[in-house]
């Protein structure tokens, strides 16, 4: 049991995965000597060499495309995209190649690739450094998509993602990298990667979140509790596949659901959850599923990003509204 930040937990998880399987290679911009701009790969090139921790030329399509080739040769590439907003040059390789090779080849070709993306806002950055591109990957068959929200999960989930034989887009809430500290028990039994989890039980309404908004929702639940309202909070963890079993179970009890993410509301993951939960729990719902997310504008300049991002007030406001129907 060690107390560590999310960044350190990911670093430890990557290290463990590299020790366990020498086919694991890390690729990306500045991941080697520097250890990544967020230091997630700190020390790995020193310990595993530059054949396994590869500083690549500055071309995201090139990184993902060559990782495909390495995967076809039996390697398990873990690709770092430096910031969410820089994944788009690699989009074609991800959507048309990474996602489709298994299907195209009828399972003969496997692409056990992990694409790590530091995502989300709240770090006061310039443009393209605060995006939440997950919906686009969830919409793409052939990809799996997960998001961690705390150090303990991060440590385990990154290893599970690397171990998976399918390509996984691995979303890391960058604003928590160096702030979220928690105990990580390296020997604890791991929860399955493809499962959501109730992180705070409650009975009046349900909040669903993932990545950086899990803590927002937990805060909201604390405040609501003071006001006598009991909110259940679910950390999705896996976005594709979506594990809505605990959500359905919860909504059948609470009758009210609010989904919270930083991605733009329109066609964010919340839209899919709203559609599915409504279909599944139609007669249990006391109110429509409401969504709190980034507005349908480009990500704004940093000085007003807090207004753009879902916060405690907007979450509680949405909860209130579900009681108004």
């Amino acid at each position: 049991m060690t107390t560590m930040t999310l960044a350190k937990a990911l670093n430890a998880g990557l290290r463990k995965a590299m020790e366990d399987d020498d086919k694991v290679v890390i690729m990306g911009e500045d991941v080697g000597t520097l250890g990544g701009v967020f230091r997630i790969t700190d020390g790995l090139q020193k310990d595993f060499g530059d054949a396994r921790v590869i500083d690549t030329p500055l071309a995201e399509s090139g990184i993902v495309g060559t990782a495909v080739g390495l995967a076809m040769r039996g390697y398990r590439p873990v690709v770092e995209i430096q910031f969410d907003g820089f994944v788009y040059p690699a989009y074609d390789q991800i959507v048309c190649q990474v996602a489709k090779l298994h299907f195209r080849s009828q399972g003969r070709v496997r692409i056990p690739m992990v694409i790590r993306i530091p995502f989300g806002g709240g770090i006061g950055a310039v443009e393209h450094h605060s995006e939440s591109p997950e919906a686009q990957f969830v919409h793409t068959p052939g990809l799996k998509v997960v998001a961690c929200s705390n150090p303990a999960d991060a440590y385990v989930m990154i290893q599970q993602a690397i171990h998976a034989d399918d390509p996984v887009v691995f979303l890391e809430p960058k604003r928590l990298y160096h702030s979220a500290k928690a105990d990580v028990d390296e020997s604890a039994p791991a929860a399955p990667l493809w499962q959501s989890r109730v992180v705070r039980p409650g009975s009046d309404a349900t909040l669903v979140a993932y990545g950086p908004t899990v803590s927002t929702c937990l805060d909201a639940a604390t405040v609501a509790a003071e006001e006598g309202r009991s909110l259940e909070v679910i950390d999705l963890r896996t976005l594709s596949p979506l594990d809505l079993v605990p959500v359905h179970e919860s909504v059948r009890r609470t009758g009210r659901l609010v989904v919270v993410h930083e991605a733009h509301v329109t066609l964010g993951v919340g839209a899919e959850i709203a559609a599915r939960v409504t279909e599944e729990c139609f007669h249990s719902l006391e109110a429509p599923v409401l969504r709190v997310g980034g507005f349908d504008t480009p990500y704004p300049p940093a000085r007003i990003e807090e207004a753009f991002l879902p916060d405690l007030d907007r979450v509680l406001d949405a909860v209130d509204r579900t009681f108004g129907f």
Binding site: Q93, F103, P112
Partner: protein, 376 residues
């Protein structure tokens, strides 16, 4: 780094020069860098390959006309480029093709019926890449050049470059077209291959056309010089000359296997047919041009050479022709017999580990389909 075979470093490269060992008239010419001796058997082999591959192509085109295939991408005119490139491979080498590499597929032992299945719409490629060391056809132009480069980086990590053991040292080939050379991916592949000195041979069939666009739209200098800007050699070979293509590719592969890094081969050839069976080239090119290139036919020149030098007689030619007939007949027969896939299987193919989500959708589909079977 002056290369004994490919000549001086890029910046001092000589003027464009087409490596040629067999002229369009069927005359054997010599080239200082690539003078190989070919055995009679080898030459007859090239001839046989080219004739069979041309038949394969004609047969598939006919099958498309008869509605048996949705589409076919013809290789007519590019037989020498593909057989030369394909026969130069060692078994352990790995090839990343485009959608037109039927001749290379042939050399790698992929059954032509597998190609038909893809263009019939039965599947998206049903050979086992690992069995043939031949990747699936890639339709997004240029994407596979990065896969090839990454695969070559894997070969390096496996320690299979420069060991000196000819059975183990491995090279990778990335095929692409003149049009594809404009894609970012291809140029990024050049960057990565140079940066990591990856054992990859970039093999561009410059067939002068990208659908309706002439080569000049993509580059104002000969394409083989593109690599000079990235710090590795490029060379132009007569892509209608199977001997030259073979010799140049073989040397390039050897160079890569030895650890001397990437190289670009521009096989200068011509797309004699349409882009695909849905294309109508009369809309954008002169038949004069096509006529001109007919004189450079890759098979005819080798046939002249074989005959003139007594390396092949009528019996041999008849034998090959009969083999081609048999191939055509088998393709027709087996194409008709190709079973349609079952929609039920779709959900099994998405992932290595099927998700509950997809299993549920599959069950829903099955129930829906069953409800119709009951009705009918």
């Amino acid at each position: 780094m002056t290369d004994p075979v490919f000549g001086p470093a890029p910046e001092r490269a000589p003027d464009p020069e087409l490596v040629q060992l067999l002229t369009p008239e069927g005359e054997r010419v010599h080239h200082p860098g690539f003078d190989a001796d070919f055995s009679a058997e080898q030459l007859r082999g090239f001839y046989r390959d080219m004739v069979l591959v041309r038949r394969l192509d004609i047969e598939a085109t006919a099958l498309q006309r008869h509605g048996e295939l949705g589409l076919w991408a013809q290789l007519l005119g590019q037989e020498a480029a593909q057989i030369g490139a394909g026969r130069a491979l060692a078994p352990q080498d790995y090839v990343f093709p485009t959608y037109r590499e039927h001749g290379v597929a042939w050399c790698r032992g992929v059954d032509p019926v597998r190609l038909l299945a893809l263009f019939r719409g039965v599947d998206q490629g049903s050979w086992d890449p690992a069995e043939h060391n031949f990747g699936l056809y890639t339709i997004v132009i240029g994407a596979q050049t990065l896969h090839a480069t990454g695969y070559a980086m894997g070969v390096q990590r496996d320690g299979l470059v420069g060991t000196g053991d000819p059975e183990r040292d491995t090279a990778v080939v990335a095929h692409f077209g003149d049009g594809a050379s404009s894609q970012g991916d291809v140029n990024e592949a050049f960057v990565f291959a140079a940066s990591f000195n990856a054992p990859v041979v970039f093999f561009c069939q410059n067939n002068q056309w990208a659908i309706s666009e002439p080569f000049e739209r993509q580059s104002r200098i000969p394409l083989y010089r593109r690599s000079h800007g990235f710090g590795f050699p490029g060379i132009r070979v007569d892509g209608n000359d199977v001997l030259a293509t073979y010799a140049v590719t073989k040397a390039a592969l050897q160079r890569a296997r030895e650890g001397q890094g990437p190289i670009l081969i521009e096989a200068y050839t011509y797309r004699m047919g349409a882009h695909t069976t849905t294309d109508d080239p009369t809309r954008y090119r002169l038949s004069d041009d096509v006529e001109h290139w007919k004189l450079k036919d890759p098979i005819a020149r080798l046939e002249v050479y074989l005959r003139r030098n007594g390396l092949a007689d009528d019996d041999f030619l008849a034998e090959v022709a009969a083999e081609a007939d048999a191939l055509g007949e088998r393709m027709r027969r087996e194409c008709h017999a190709l079973p349609d896939p079952s929609p039920h299987d779709l959900w099994d193919l998405v992932h290595a580990e099927k998700t509950a989500e997809l299993a549920a959708q599959q069950a829903e589909y099955d129930a829906h389909a069953a409800s119709f079977e009951e009705v009918s």
